[in-house]
């Protein structure tokens, strides 16, 4: 797992995004238990304090909750997850629009290219 992080942005934020992505994609199942901070830090090969901070951030966003003695769990709030899923999708679309317009494509051209690509892929 080494060197999977970009070292010019805070690693804890990259961890938060990694978890968000895996929660909304369903890779981490609703209500499932997370491993300990120590094990997660080892798995991602980062400092335990960095992992702790990422988990605290996810708790603040209520995507993860802690139970005093048993550990941390993925939220059971399916509505929250689906909202989060949509907002991640919005970010990707925003980026697409931004990049296409920076290449000089009009909205309609961008949409046409997008549809063409989807049709190609579904063949």
């Amino acid at each position: 797992m080494a060197n999977q992080f970009q070292s010019n942005t805070p690693i804890y934020l990259q961890l938060v995004n990694n978890f968000k992505h895996r929660i909304v994609s369903g890779e981490l199942t609703v209500g499932s238990k997370l491993e300990s901070v120590r094990d997660l830090a080892l798995y991602f090969e980062v400092n335990p304090n960095t992992m702790q901070r990422a988990l605290a951030e996810l708790e603040r966003d209520e995507l993860v909750f802690a139970e005093r003695t048993t550990g941390r769990f993925i939220t059971k709030d399916k509505e929250l997850i689906s909202k989060m899923r949509e907002s991640v999708a919005q970010e990707i679309i925003d980026q697409f629009i931004l990049q296409m317009s920076s290449l000089g494509f009009s909205n309609q051209e961008a949409i046409n290219l997008f549809i063409k690509k989807i049709e190609e892929r579904s063949v």
């Binding site: 080494a2 060197n3 992080f5 970009q6 070292s7 010019n8 942005t9 805070p10 690693i11 804890y12 934020l13 120590r38 830090a41 080892l42 090969e45 980062v46 400092n47 335990p48 304090n49 960095t50 901070r53």
Partner: protein
């Protein structure tokens, strides 16, 4: 962090490390100049600076190797001495082995010297790093000796690990393995202070960094806060701060 206001109660636990107004003069060179530093338990701290900035000197003072300095240095509230040495596991910049020795000799010495040394842990780490405990040290490569030194110091259950350039001679693949070894043997209540020039390889395991320049601390702080504020990696920032 240096100027942090502490509103601790008088009976609060002492900092792991307290350095105040530390000066160290070599003949014709000021190595450390008015240095102030506090470290708390539970951090992995990168001590970064160009050659000759005072990293090794500072580490030698913390470990009692250098005694003629001015200023105050305490570890766990105690001045540097036999009591603090039992708390500190030190990997020096140069190996101190006699050429005829094998890892087994050193392991038995460490068992005698340090109550917190675990032989089983050390042998296990040696084997994982592909070393043979019966091979004479003078037949080992530089990288192999570094790996062995690291096994020794990380097999102690110390409060404070001071590692002076622990991975300089180690190949990139083994570097990652060693960093993982450090992370997996690291007790979250202890603190590791580690100097290195291989910043881009190592910065993922730090939570705090200290930049040392000509014997003074020019930057100290939480590594992710620095990345966020500067929008740069620590490696990039280092290259800018210490541009020749």
């Amino acid at each position: 962090m240096n100027t942090q206001i502490t509103n601790k109660l008088p009976d609060a636990k002492p900092n792991l490390l307290n350095v105040s107004n530390l000066n160290k003069m070599y003949p014709k060179k000021l190595a450390l100049s008015g240095l102030n530093l506090t470290l708390e338990p539970g951090h992995i701290v990168g001590l970064l600076g160009p050659n000759g900035s005072g990293k090794t000197t500072l580490m030698k003072i913390l470990t009692g190797v250098i005694k003629d300095y001015s200023g105050t240095v305490t570890i766990n509230g105690m001045p540097i001495g036999p009591e603090t040495k039992t708390l500190v596991s030190y990997l020096p910049d140069n190996p101190y082995f006699s050429p005829w020795m094998t890892p087994l000799h050193m392991i038995s010495m460490f068992k005698d010297f340090y109550a917190d040394f675990s032989e089983d842990k050390c042998l296990d780490m040696l084997h994982k790093l592909g070393l043979n405990e019966k091979q004479r040290i003078n037949t080992m490569s530089k990288g192999m000796i570094e790996k062995f030194q690291l096994c020794l110091v990380m097999s102690r259950k110390a409060m404070f690990y001071i590692l002076d350039e622990p991975i300089g001679g180690v190949d990139p693949a083994a570097r990652d393995f060693i960093l993982d070894t450090i992370l997996s043997n690291y007790d979250p209540d202890s603190t590791i202070l580690m100097s290195t020039h291989l910043i881009s390889d190592v910065e993922r395991i730090f939570d705090t960094v200290i930049f040392l320049k000509e014997g003074e601390i020019v930057l100290q702080g939480d590594i992710d806060n620095i990345r966020a504020a500067e929008d740069k990696s620590i490696d990039q920032l280092f290259r800018e701060v210490f541009k020749c």
